[in-house]
């Protein structure tokens, strides 16, 4: 009798019944690696779930679906919300995915779902977030700068899951302050003396206790010291930008976070998340969306424009997304969570811009054309980042788990 583990191994090698379908995406993924030049990914995370019918998938024929008017964009035939006038001018760079259709309607589960591509708790495994995946696949563990920076409030869904602590993000609370406590008053020789003593103590602990804690502790300290001692942390200093640039991004946490993201990408950090919270508009929608969009539109537009000016847009994938959309029709003055049909936006990384992918029905309630699952979405991000998404890692217990769950296919429409 074949054991469960052997069975998984066998099918993973393509010897089981699923061999043919197992091969196809692998070959396709390899072909894609020659096309995309992406080195970094910036995730603009709209925490709480932005309403698609107020942003990128308006339903002007249906007065119940929202009060905001559509406007023309740089691409004939594509209209978006009047709240995004600056971004409308950049539509040639963007693909609006209007066919998002996912299955988690509750924040924490949906954050895990959208950041990892799996369902929370599925198979008893903690999955790595997309930031951890990109930092592992495209980052350099020896680089003095972190491979994954999150300008966000931390949350379990940001985590490295079974990848382990090495792939966790560096959280930056306030982009203006950058990384705090980076400077020390102790001269290098004194620091070295301290680390020598610390080494001794660590050795003693390691000899006595069974725990992964010591190893993780040592790794984080090593990386922190690397960061203290590199000139590259200048990337965190927003003061060196002109007032004009800083104004263009918007003088708020999200705007300055996007500017910091650009600086980090210039310094070759492979994954940066910038979060904008407050989209959970159950009780009052319209004013909140107006205020949030007034921060979001200039910041994301300045970011894409700036990356383009600097010749970095082709090597940077920018993703705009939340954990789900919101009910197309109002409930009172608010909108509820809605995962069945919603929108995300991809920019840069040499994608085919100036298009929409997928279509929702008259009221934005179901996807009638080209539904996009979370697995397809993750596979697309991986492929654009030149990551073989069929690659498998052993989760605790030795079970091989693919980076993107089986069945996910990168969207051919997006790739050049």
């Amino acid at each position: 009798m074949i054991s469960r583990r052997d069975w998984l191994r066998t099918t993973a090698l393509g010897l089981g019944g699923a061999s043919l379908s197992g091969w196809l995406p692998r070959l396709a993924a390899q072909a894609a690696q020659q096309q995309s030049k992406a080195k970094s990914c910036i995730l603009l995370w709209m925490d709480g779930g932005p309403p698609h019918t107020d942003t990128f998938d308006l339903k002007p024929e249906e007065p119940d679906c929202g009060i905001f008017k559509p406007i023309d964009t740089a691409v004939p035939g594509i209209q978006i919300s009047e709240l995004y006038p600056q971004f409308a001018k950049m539509m040639k760079e963007a693909a609006v995915l209007r066919g998002m259709s996912t299955v988690e309607n509750e924040h924490l589960r949906a954050r895990v779902h959208l950041r990892t591509g799996y369902r929370d708790g599925q198979g008893g495994v903690h999955y790595p977030s997309i930031g951890s995946v990109v930092s592992r696949e495209r980052g350099d563990l020896e680089s003095p700068l972190p491979n994954y920076v999150a300008i966000a409030q931390s949350d379990r869904s940001h985590g490295p899951g079974y990848f382990g602590a090495v792939y966790q993000p560096l959280f930056v609370n306030d982009p203006e302050k950058g990384v705090e406590n980076l400077k020390t008053l102790a001269p290098t020789a004194q620091q070295d003396r301290r680390f020598g003593l610390l080494d001794n103590l660590e050795q003693g602990f390691k000899e006595r206790y069974a725990s992964t804690i010591q190893g993780d502790h040592a790794t984080v300290y090593r990386r922190a010291v690397g960061l203290m001692r590199t000139e590259k942390t200048k990337a965190f200093e927003l003061d060196s930008e002109s007032a004009r640039t800083r104004d263009a991004y918007g003088r708020n946490k999200f705007g300055q976070g996007c500017l910091l993201a650009r600086r980090l990408v210039e310094a070759e950090v492979p994954f940066v998340e910038v979060s904008l919270g407050g989209w959970d508009t159950h009780f009052e929608n319209n004013d909140a969306i107006r205020k949030l969009s007034a921060q979001c539109d200039p910041a994301m537009s300045a970011l894409v424009d700036d990356l383009k000016q600097r010749g970095l847009l082709d090597s940077t994938l920018v993703v705009w997304m939340g954990e789900f959309g919101r009910t197309p029709k109002f409930k009172g003055k608010g909108r509820d969570h809605y995962a069945k049909a919603w929108s995300t936006v991809l920019m840069g990384a040499g994608i085919k811009g100036g298009q929409t992918v997928g279509q929702t029905d008259k009221i934005g309630a179901t996807v009638v054309e080209r539904p996009i699952s979370v697995a397809d979405f993750m596979a697309t991000i991986c492929r654009l980042m030149q990551i073989d998404y069929t690659k498998e890692y052993d989760a605790p217990g030795g079970r091989p788990v693919p980076l993107v769950q089986k069945g996910g296919r990168a969207m051919p429409e997006i790739l050049r």
Partner: protein
């Protein structure tokens, strides 16, 4: 025939708790019998018990929330009393430090980390929790006062629970997680994907909170005051996904409720009754997790039928004893701390995962953020116990509590993370290495080195204050050598810096 003795036993215990603490040793023995059964079944040998220094360090952190002060370490190691371990457990349970740590734990459980909650005054709740744990108020009563209290925060601090929540679903989610050990939140919008909670079951439980609302009073010159009551007109919000379902106990009866009757006492009565299948299990599982680093069911807030316990009989034993003892929290803690399962030496390198899961030895845990803060403060105070202000009356008090909470939030990297996994990242580590807090090391040394100690003596003092043990011979030789070789003023500070940044300091082992 079985009914009468059970009722008799319950009343006996209730009377006994008024007089003297019930003896926890028999329950500790039963715990060990259950642990041993499984070790035997899997043929895994149990490890030896820990030494006195390790025990003292452990029990101080777990019960009092701070590493032991230097004088306590010396006293405990020198003592020849046979029952010194049992005595220190009692001493710590009776100390204000126990009540403070429990208030820290429960505050985190009851107050959501939302911007709206941050704007409210938590102090009445925190002080009341502290006083409640100092008096060893039964947890059933505490829970009833949290859930079914009515009035202003200042008079009825338990009502803070509703003051810090915005909507009925937020309250329902938290009550299910904390008091029932269940994750129901997904059933808010749809039937639960992996478990069998139905959306109507969720809204039937939520139905009990449908009348609760907040109270507000503005008193000229004194400020704004809040409270909660079921007669308030400003009800908690209901999300659009809400369903109108009559209140019903989870998988239980549908009580007859008159429209003008308060619902919350009915819910709280069901919740905290000894017959409730969820309440006692949820609380003993959380408590076990605090002391042993793992729950008997994991994740601890997901105790559904589809997620079985590692030691089902032990869980039932603890839950039953807890309910029978009238939810006497100190009794439960005493029994756990007296057990061999708790007192085993930490597992050595190379031990199997299985040995840890069977409690053949202790697992290394990360300190909680509050434990880390309070332990650093104590070390920087020369290894001497530092009584914190218990009020927020003057500016210095407010500053102290503000910075303590700020520190804890900063180190609380991932809510609900396992204490067995290292979660600190670069920002946390940079703070431990380079922050202004750490620049107080120089002042602390004036305290440690007031007498101008010999290198060996100074090294011993510093190790004792940070790691709660005497230095090992080879270690002492190295550290003394370092101090003898480096005669500059910074050298002792560098040693203390290294001790405070070590894994051994940051962990409970």
């Amino acid at each position: 025939m079985t009914r009468f003795p059970m009722a008799f036993l319950v009343s006996l215990v209730a009377v006994a708790s008024l007089a003297a603490a019930p003896d926890a040793a028999p329950l500790a023995k039963q715990i060990d019998a259950e642990i041993q059964k499984k070790l035997d079944a899997e043929k895994v040998p149990a490890g030896p018990l820990c030494d006195d220094a390790e025990f003292l360090h452990r029990v101080y952190l777990d019960v009092a929330g701070v590493v032991p002060p230097s004088d306590k370490v010396r006293e405990f190691l020198d003592s020849k009393e046979a029952d010194k371990r049992a005595k220190i457990i009692d001493e710590l349970l009776a100390s204000p430090l126990y009540a403070r740590q429990q208030a820290d734990i429960w505050k985190e459980l009851l107050i959501p980390k939302t911007a709206a909650a941050a704007r409210r005054n938590h102090l009445p709740l925190v002080n009341w929790l502290r006083d409640s744990f100092a008096a060893n108020k039964p947890i059933g009563q505490l829970t009833r006062e949290i859930l079914a209290g009515s009035g202003m925060q200042t008079d009825n601090p338990g009502t803070t629970f509703y003051v810090v929540h915005e909507s009925v679903d937020q309250v329902t989610d938290r009550v299910s997680r904390v008091f029932l050990g269940l994750q129901l939140q997904c059933a808010q919008c749809h039937d639960h994907p992996f478990q069998d909670w139905k959306r109507d079951e969720y809204w039937a439980l939520a139905g009990f909170f449908s009348k609760v609302g907040t109270l507000f009073q503005r008193v000229p010159d004194k400020g704004d005051f809040y409270g909660a009551s079921e007669t308030s007109k400003s009800k908690l919000m209901r999300p659009p996904s809400a369903r109108e379902v009559p209140p019903q106990f989870l998988r239980g009866d549908k009580p007859t409720l008159a429209a003008d009757q308060p619902y919350l006492p009915v819910l709280a009565g069901w919740l905290t009754s000894a017959e409730n299948p969820y309440f006692a299990r949820a609380l003993v599982n959380r408590t076990w997790h605090h002391f042993l680093g793992m729950g008997l069911v994991n994740p601890i807030e997901d105790m559904s039928a589809k997620n079985p316990a590692t030691h089902p009989e032990l869980l039932e034993l603890l839950a039953r004893s807890y309910a029978q003892a009238g939810f006497d929290h100190q009794h439960l803690i005493r029994a756990i701390c007296l057990s061999n399962a708790y007192q085993r030496r930490s597992l050595p390198p190379g031990a199997s995962d299985r040995a840890g899961k069977l409690y053949a030895g202790r697992l290394v845990k990360i300190m909680t953020p509050f434990q880390l803060h309070d332990s650093i403060e104590q070390v920087l105070n020369g290894g001497k116990h530092k009584p914190w202000p218990t009020t927020w009356e003057d500016k210095a008090d407010i500053r102290f509590h503000g910075s303590r909470n700020g520190f804890a939030n900063f180190f609380n990297v991932e809510e609900g993370a396992s204490p067995l996994e290292y979660k600190a990242g670069i920002p946390q580590v940079l703070r431990l290495m380079n922050s202004r807090e750490m620049s107080r090391i120089a002042n602390a040394l004036k305290e440690f080195n007031a007498a101008g100690e010999q290198p060996a003596k100074l090294a011993e003092k510093l190790v004792l204050a940070t790691l709660s043990r005497a230095p090992r011979p080879e270690e002492l030789e190295k550290l003394t050598g370092f101090l003898a070789k480096n005669k500059d003023a910074q050298a002792p500070g560098d040693l203390l810096w290294a001790l405070l940044n070590s894994t051994e300091f940051y962990t409970n082992h």
